[in-house]
Symmetry: D2
Amino acid sequence: MKTSQLFQTALEPDALHTFFHDVRQTSERLAEPLSDADATVQSMADASPAKWHLAHTTWFFEAMVLKPFVPAYKTFDEDFHFLFNSYYETLGARQPRPRRGMITRPTLSHILDYRKHVDHALDALLRASPGQRVAELVELGCHHEQQHQELLLTDILHLFAQNPLHPAYRDPRPVTVETADLSPLSFTAFDEAIVEIGHGPVGFAYDSEGPRHRVLVEPFRLANRLVTNAEWADFVNDGGYQKSLLWLSEGWAKVQAEGWSQPLYWEERDGQNWMMTLRGFQPVDPTAPVTHISYFEADAFATWSGKRLPTEFEWETAAQGIAIQGNFLDTHRFRPKPASPHVGGLQQMFGDVWEWTRSAFLPYPRFRTVEGAVGEYNGKFMSGQFVLRGGSCVTPPGHMRASYRNFFPGHARWQFSGLRLAEDA
Amino acid sequence: MKTSQLFQTALEPDALHTFFHDVRQTSERLAEPLSDADATVQSMADASPAKWHLAHTTWFFEAMVLKPFVPAYKTFDEDFHFLFNSYYETLGARQPRPRRGMITRPTLSHILDYRKHVDHALDALLRASPGQRVAELVELGCHHEQQHQELLLTDILHLFAQNPLHPAYRDPRPVTVETADLSPLSFTAFDEAIVEIGHGPVGFAYDSEGPRHRVLVEPFRLANRLVTNAEWADFVNDGGYQKSLLWLSEGWAKVQAEGWSQPLYWEERDGQNWMMTLRGFQPVDPTAPVTHISYFEADAFATWSGKRLPTEFEWETAAQGIAIQGNFLDTHRFRPKPASPHVGGLQQMFGDVWEWTRSAFLPYPRFRTVEGAVGEYNGKFMSGQFVLRGGSCVTPPGHMRASYRNFFPGHARWQFSGLRLAEDA
Amino acid sequence: MKTSQLFQTALEPDALHTFFHDVRQTSERLAEPLSDADATVQSMADASPAKWHLAHTTWFFEAMVLKPFVPAYKTFDEDFHFLFNSYYETLGARQPRPRRGMITRPTLSHILDYRKHVDHALDALLRASPGQRVAELVELGCHHEQQHQELLLTDILHLFAQNPLHPAYRDPRPVTVETADLSPLSFTAFDEAIVEIGHGPVGFAYDSEGPRHRVLVEPFRLANRLVTNAEWADFVNDGGYQKSLLWLSEGWAKVQAEGWSQPLYWEERDGQNWMMTLRGFQPVDPTAPVTHISYFEADAFATWSGKRLPTEFEWETAAQGIAIQGNFLDTHRFRPKPASPHVGGLQQMFGDVWEWTRSAFLPYPRFRTVEGAVGEYNGKFMSGQFVLRGGSCVTPPGHMRASYRNFFPGHARWQFSGLRLAEDA
Amino acid sequence: MKTSQLFQTALEPDALHTFFHDVRQTSERLAEPLSDADATVQSMADASPAKWHLAHTTWFFEAMVLKPFVPAYKTFDEDFHFLFNSYYETLGARQPRPRRGMITRPTLSHILDYRKHVDHALDALLRASPGQRVAELVELGCHHEQQHQELLLTDILHLFAQNPLHPAYRDPRPVTVETADLSPLSFTAFDEAIVEIGHGPVGFAYDSEGPRHRVLVEPFRLANRLVTNAEWADFVNDGGYQKSLLWLSEGWAKVQAEGWSQPLYWEERDGQNWMMTLRGFQPVDPTAPVTHISYFEADAFATWSGKRLPTEFEWETAAQGIAIQGNFLDTHRFRPKPASPHVGGLQQMFGDVWEWTRSAFLPYPRFRTVEGAVGEYNGKFMSGQFVLRGGSCVTPPGHMRASYRNFFPGHARWQFSGLRLAEDA
């Protein structure tokens, strides 16, 4: 198997070099508002410290590219291999995941030195026109780092949400709740079709997005926009979290064990809903898409609505051909924006919240994992997870495409996850 | 929605009456070897006491049929509603599942009286030609009870396996290990096709087996027989349980947390593999299908073999038209039998071990749950589970069919679960 | 060290033989109301099945007396050694304590055969005038069995309390709540003294009751009677379970984690307090001593009262010379009786509820454990436990004496445990 | 009750003012080697972040002294009351203990500002000759802060021990293992006596050190020095951690559940014992006292030695009159020093390791807690703990005295805790 086919890279050397620099810079800009302590603490086993994200993405380039392909490369610190391997069993022992927050040393500033060291070596390598394999791995490393950029933000939000002082990651001034009229809910019909699903030959994609194959999709209808906070508040007020019949059995068990009664970061203050955001504690915007909900909540809401969640194939059918915009770091607002009332057709498909689908994260026909460490990327997570599609307000734009398959366990709530309704046609 | 379409019942009144009697009698015959204590203890939260199975299946008829449809029916004991409801939230509070083993009273013999009382009332009702709705519910109740017959046996096996004395459920004499030649492993090819999946209009089926719909199935090849104990021993001896790369991430976590190193009931004694069975502690038969393995183990084995598990659609494609035989109670041996070397084609599709598929248990297109308590039957379990197909050596034959979808979480091991290999064609 | 001094036995051969028979018979009479299932289920890790108590006490005689001292003794079943050893590390591996309830076979009736077999052998041995060492061990075995008689009853009560049907161990008719006037609370003063504490040379005692030694006890005052249910209800109604300042830190953590708000078996029905008893579900008798409370609750109550718990030395000082009566099996009522208003002085010192003291269970000066398995009896539990004094309504009378030191962890509630107030003089 | 009697303060205004400044400065000097991240992370529920120690000790002065006694005092930050209350239920809700490490903001430097703010206000107050009550509370606050100075060091050691890089708190150069001859073990005899136990009227003491009272202490003999690492290694090599009979039942359960096989921070490297220290990873010094052991380990060692642990009364009897020296911050070595061979009599009574006694932490006769928040200081911990006496190499000297009662649960290992043997005379 050729990995060039797998990762389907297409970037020219110059474009790759630029991409590399942009990605590496972006990570560091994301870390700017963080103190050493902010970047060190781990708020739960599922989250990682920001420092760890910054170091692990760097280690990825060191372990996958520099060490195997640059004989003269001088390892920055041999201990970092143990500290910053995530889960690559192929690559040896590592700091246990739930103990990542114990590593107060190296400091954040030392990690930034580590990044410089590796960037410098990569720079030289990329300038020297490395072969196809290296180019592929560097491109993979960049996408890998983009993935961690989003996680860095969701993990910082989770950490700050544990602090009773509700610190803001950026710019704590109260966000004006937009009162603009919302698009009325409507459904777009799709006919039965045999659809090509999965990533085509052009541009980068992860192995789990392929192989491209045909799926028979029955007729369905898809909502023009995401479910809003106001609609979610109706669900809450109607006792949605108390009605067991709306819930999957696993979900209902979670509701009871964890005392779920609203989205993860909501909190009532004087009769109004507030929520923790990357800009601090803010009133809930009724027209914005609901976010930080689990699959179980999304499914219960859909049942309550008399609708259902779409399958990932339905979603991809609808998304094919829709343009993705976004200038992540410059214009991102770190929160989903309301759908515009003036635009027809499908809105908010990319860049607001990840959309839970009713599809389990399973291999496509003829999927095979790659040999070696890179093969541990996606395949080993193909049990116990649901697929999310689209991309959120903290997803780098290069990380959104119609074929992209994000995945999380059904109980996960700390991502920017929401839902779009569907129904049988 | 008409439930007559849902459960697709077809039995004539007389046939239903006979079916009812057979099923009820079979349960009681299964309980014969059990003491009051055997029938009371719960060996883990996932298992239930035999007494509970006997009472709960009876309660099902009382709560779903007698109370709603027979005004003069006199409830046997009002408290049983609380004790023997399983999980029907619609029907009110119930004894918490992990505490089912605390109920030493009523005794087993009192539960048998309860069964007589309900049978008597059902008898009268069935003789009086009840309407279509009652007939459907009685037929559903019979299939429900058959499901619990299998669980009663797997739960008793689990209980007896906790006892260092290894008591035998039936006939503890050593089973002669059959040395008959085994069918050599071969693969049957299937062409790409759009296949009708799901139960058709004739005969009983659960709601989750429908609606019947078309699926595009790519070409594949399916093993002629199940994986054997001897083949599993090769996997064990090759270090299969120590090689993380063979495993799904969730599976590897289980291997480490639970110390898995062989199938659930295997135990080495003097260099030979023995296992706990319903006939007591027995040497492992190398030619018999491996059983009591989790999805994670099945998947790791398939990866080790360079093959994969089939999807449930592939399995159903192959199973359509294969005859199901078996006289459960009279001839069952309570253990899977080796494949015959003389028969060509697909063997052991029904009645040996449940076969893990790589399909998650999810709703078919246009699936909707029924209104009311009966609707809690399957739909609410559609997350976090994998589909098993076929049927085991302790499955009542009426409970096996090509469209039948059994389901368990990926870590479950106490069922008679095994695997059949598949590969891309 | 001579164990004859340790266990301080004094029984003549005939008296010992009679004692042995009485104790063995009593256990069997206690088991009479139990079904095989009742006797098999374990309701929590701290409790044991009745069958286990019956077998373990028998095993004690077999392992400590018959096997070492009767060469011709034929072991009843070699497997029982594994099944019924409690915690004697010296004597090898054993069924893990929390899994004692998995042993549905041997049946209760087989255990009764085991008892006969061992009794028969012991009978012969005792008739043959065995030596001093055997006599001591048999006497110890009898006291050991009496201890388990009480545990059998408290464990059955705990099991039956888990059953929503509230089965009665004996005679379920409602107990008439006695309305007799209660002794008014008064305090008896004791002067400062150097007191002899611990068991003297006459009669049986456990090793932990000695060596007898002198303790300087400051002046104190001790309540004439136990705290009643009515007084406890005042504590509850005054918010005792909500006021953190009344509680030890460990106790307050338990209140919150376990949701304690009343004694273990209390339950409000229609504004009245009921409780689970060995005679089934009964109204709480306001004049009876409160029972089934933890040390933490007893201590909080005492603090709320402006008093304190006595030390074990104060209690023993007061108890010396008080007569112990009681005909356990014939007249016991399986519940504590109210104090009589007519009797002066200290009442209810023996035979109502065990009284929590503020003394930790620690070795007396010069205490040393005996060599061998018998040495594992008490010494190894000398951490993390508080001493209780007196004896309860389900304590065999031979198991009550002024020097007797019962002990349980501060959170234990399922014993018949209550309290008596004390104060500084 | 007058608290002036309770805390028995004796400091003159000037001495108090000096004491206050010294203590406050010392804390800040202890924090100097720490980064913001070091000072923020919580390595286990029992430990607290350094930042928290610095802030909580400051909050103590603010909440107990400034707010009640200085009307014009301006609270530094109202939120800190929630963040830095430890466990004073009287004073309202607080950050849950196991979540103290989530507080990345305020930063360490902001906490140092907080300290300045409070110091400034206290300065003014102390200069203005406040009344007796304020003086007492300030003195209490200083002792309270000294207690936290030790905890800050033990908690930092625990945190750094989680880091595979073994960072050093101070000066990581290898410590030369002293090979000086060790005092041979000998025992000093004490006659039976009625001893005055508890703190007398002069100087500061905690409430739990009184009231002073008489105890009858039987004759005993006490070791001249602490148990050494070399002696502990003998215990390890003799299988001490594998012999269940040496252990208390609770202790043996811990050995098995936690896999204890050596002191907490020991680690074998190439056949030699190393250990984590505040000076980084160092070879174990065979002549230094063993430390970081639990009560259960100390007790098992004593049993293995044929000796026992002393009671706290025996220890105090022996310690009365022994001088305490030490210049904590200037000369401390952050590790216990070997006993000198040249000095006769009892050595190492203060300032090396805390010595486990076999006494449970219980109230002395006539002990009563003070009214109000200060009363929550010690009394509520009087269950489930053992007393340690002496003081360790990281105990401020003002925090050591013959009557001082330190206490920890029997399983605690992260303090500088060791043992001295005793025996009956």
